[in-house]
Symmetry: C2
Subunit: 152 residues, 2 copies
C-alpha cells in the first residue's frame, strides 16, 4: 500500500462530490414525479419501460433485471407486486424451463402512459436543458466508459 496513490486531490474531490451528489439525489428527484403521477417508484418504472421496448413485448427476468440495473431478487419481489396490481404478467419460457418471461399488460401500458410525459419533462429539466449538444454527448461517453468499469 506504500506506492498507493494518495487520497483525491482538490480537483478530483470536487468532481467526486458532484458525481456522487447526482448519484445519490437523482433517483429521489425522479421518484417524486413518478409517485405523484403514477404511484410508481423508479425501479418499477424501469421495469415497465423495459418491457414496453422489449422484442415481442416480453423479456426474461434476468435480462430485465440487468437492463434495470438491479438484482434478480429485487426484480422478483417487484414483479410480484406489479403482477398483483395487474400491470405485468409472468409465464414460463417455452424454450428454457428455468426462465420466466414477463410481459406488460394493458393496464400496465396505461400506467406507463400516466408516468411517461412528466418523466421525460423532468429528465429534460434536470439534465438535458442544462447541457448543449456537445456536452450531452461528452457526458454520455464518459458515463458509458465508467459504467463499463462498474459492470465488469
Amino acid at each position: 500500500m506504500s506506492d498507493e496513490a494518495p487520497w483525491l486531490d482538490e480537483a478530483e474531490m470536487a468532481t467526486w462530490l458532484a458525481l456522487i451528489g447526482v448519484v445519490m439525489r437523482l433517483p429521489g428527484a425522479l421518484e417524486v414525479q413518478l409517485r405523484r403521477d403514477a404511484d410508481l417508484n423508479h425501479f418499477e418504472y424501469c421495469v415497465l419501460v423495459g418491457l414496453e421496448h422489449a422484442e415481442g413485448g416480453t423479456m426474461r427476468m434476468s435480462d430485465l433485471a440487468f437492463l434495470c440495473n438491479g438484482s434478480l431478487s429485487r426484480l422478483s419481489h417487484v414483479a410480484r407486486r406489479l403482477e398483483n396490481e395487474g400491470l405485468i404478467e409472468r409465464f414460463a419460457c417455452p424454450d428454457d424451463g428455468r426462465s420466466t418471461l414477463a410481459r406488460l399488460t394493458g393496464p400496465g401500458r396505461e400506467r406507463l402512459a400516466q408516468a411517461a410525459p412528466g418523466h421525460v419533462r423532468l429528465v429534460r429539466e434536470l439534465v438535458f436543458d442544462e447541457l448543449d449538444g456537445d456536452e450531452m454527448r461528452q457526458m454520455g461517453e464518459l458515463a458509458k466508459r465508467v459504467l463499463a468499469r462498474i459492470q465488469s
Copy 2:
C-alpha cells in the same frame, strides 16, 4: 402538452441510459468494498467522512444530512445505529436548542481508517483511472451543473 419536446432522441437516450446506469449501480459497487472492509454501507461511510472533515469535528444533523445527500429522517435512523455501535456521539447544540450536534468518536475514526484506503482505491479504479485530466474536470463540471438543478 402539444408543444412539449418529444421523447429522447437516440443520442439523448444513449446518454441517459449510461447516466442512469452509473446512478443505479455505483452505490452497490461501492458498498461491496465498504461492507467487506468495515461493515458499513455507503451512507454510513459518508456520515463518518463528513464528520471527520467537519470544523471542530462536529456538525448539525441537518447540515450533515444535506452533505450526505440524504433526508434528515434517514440520517436520524442511521445516527442511532452508529451511536449504538459507538462510532459517533450526539449532544445538544449549545447555541440552538432545536439542533443536535454529531461527533466522530475514536472507534469511529478507526472504522473509517479500515474503510478509507480500499474505498479510495476503488473510486480510482471505477472512475478516475478511466478518465484523463480534462475528462475528469469536464465530468465534474457537468455533474456540478446537473446537481445544482436537482438541488434547486
